[in-house]
């Protein structure tokens, strides 16, 4: 083998860089994201409950928001009646984000963890922030 010293050293360096993340984490999964519910609007709520129950919102909010979008925009129906029979105004920017006024510590936390880039934010934005 020509230049065996250089090749072997090179391979070792490559293997070191490649394996670094696994060694560094000791094989443990990354820390679970904890979306923050610490906003003034949520604190002021007597019962800390979203439009539907928490489990439903965590697992189904993507389809749920899609349904809301189609109802409001395409059917022109801006009222949603939840399982408890309460009427809610359908709007991402004006209803969801009124309570969840911390996009960075709420929405982005899990989306970054799951490496998803929902295109909601191409047009919608956090109305509480000063930036677009």
């Amino acid at each position: 083998m020509y230049d065996s010293g250089k090749v072997i050293i090179g391979l070792l360096i490559f293997a070191g860089i490649f394996l670094f993340p696994f060694v560094y984490q000791h094989g443990a999964p990354a820390e679970k994201p904890k979306p923050s519910l610490d906003t003034p609007a949520i604190k002021a709520l007597p019962v800390k409950k979203c439009v539907e129950d928490t489990h439903f919102m965590i697992t189904t909010h993507m389809q749920f928001l899609n349904d809301w979008r189609d109802q409001a925009l395409r059917d022109g129906n801006r009222w949603y009646v939840n399982k408890a029979g309460k009427k809610v105004w359908i709007s991402l920017q004006n209803t969801c984000m009124k309570c969840h006024s911390n996009k960075k510590d709420f929405c982005d936390k899990c989306h970054n963890y799951a490496a998803v880039q929902p295109y909601c934010w191409d047009c919608h934005y956090d109305p509480n922030g000063s930036k677009l």
Partner: protein, 277 residues
């Protein structure tokens, strides 16, 4: 068996007719039959005589329309209306015609009504006509949209679904009024620039993204909240908004009393923006 030329033609002709569909070919070619068929089709399609009458009988309950009073409009008011609309919907001001986005804009009489232009009418000639989406009864944009991103709501509003728009711009080619604008560039870039200079966003309304077509939406988001469109709120003496389907509505009363013009009626799009002259 021998067959002469005459007999051969007879047999060939008959078999062709039978081949065309047997008895139905004879039936179809009966006088009067074709017209009846067409009328029947029209009934389903909704474009011909009978069908139209039927639609009027049951009729929609709401048919939104905008009236623009050209006797009350001034340059300042027109500018105020455009400014209010574009700020209410976070429309960036690119300041160059290639990239510009416009929901409502000013134009000269000569260009608004090219076929009824009257060079001796010096008053009309100088007025700032406000152009916007005409929210047609028969919107050509909705017919050509391949993904149904633009569609006609039952209340007559031609809505645009930015989630669904793929930016093919067929609708822009189809619209005879030039009411649609395409986001060639990211509107947020310009909005941020303008915000640095003191522009305020309407935080209740989203922006758009690059690659979608947008236009006036008759303030559908404000109507849902029971408000009047932003332009009407800005200049209630110039802009009148109301329900055409209701005989006693404000717009029907004004239309009875005043002379009104609509743009390009000959195309059959049935626009619902009226110019009171």
């Amino acid at each position: 068996m021998s067959m002469d030329r005459r007999k051969f033609l007879k047999v060939a002709g008959l078999s062709t007719l039978i081949g065309l569909g047997g008895s139905s070919a004879f039936e179809l070619l009966k006088p009067g039959k074709v017209d009846a068929e067409m009328e029947h089709e029209g009934h389903h399609g909704g474009h011909h005589g009978k069908a139209h009458k039927k639609e009027e009988d049951t009729g929609p309950k709401t048919r939104w329309a905008m009236l623009i009073d050209m006797k009350a409009i001034t340059k300042e008011k027109a500018e105020k209306i455009v400014h209010t609309c574009h700020h209410a919907h976070n429309v960036p001001n690119w300041g160059d015609p290639k990239n510009e986005i416009k929901w409502i804009w000013e134009e000269e009489y000569e260009h608004v009504f090219p076929d009824s232009y009257n060079e001796y009418d010096e008053i009309l000639e100088k007025l700032p006509f406000l152009l916007m989406c005409n929210h047609c009864d028969e919107p050509p944009c909705a017919r050509v949209c391949p993904v149904e991103a633009t569609f006609r709501r039952p209340d007559g509003i031609v809505a645009q679904d930015y989630h669904r728009c793929i930016g093919c711009r067929f609708c822009m080619a189809a619209c005879p009024y030039g009411s649609r604008s395409f986001n060639w560039l990211d509107p947020r870039v310009k909005l941020k620039e303008e915000m640095a200079k003191g522009r305020k966003l309407n935080k209740r309304f989203p922006t758009r993204m690059r690659g979608v077509v947008e236009k006036c939406n008759f303030c559908v988001e404000r109507l849902a909240e029971g408000k009047q469109p932003a332009c009407v709120e800005a200049c209630p003496d110039v802009m009148h908004f109301g329900n055409l389907a209701d005989e006693n509505s404000n717009v029907r009363k004004i239309l009875r009393a005043r002379i009104s013009l609509r743009r390009k009626l000959e195309l059959g799009t049935k626009p619902s923006v009226f110019y009171l002259v």
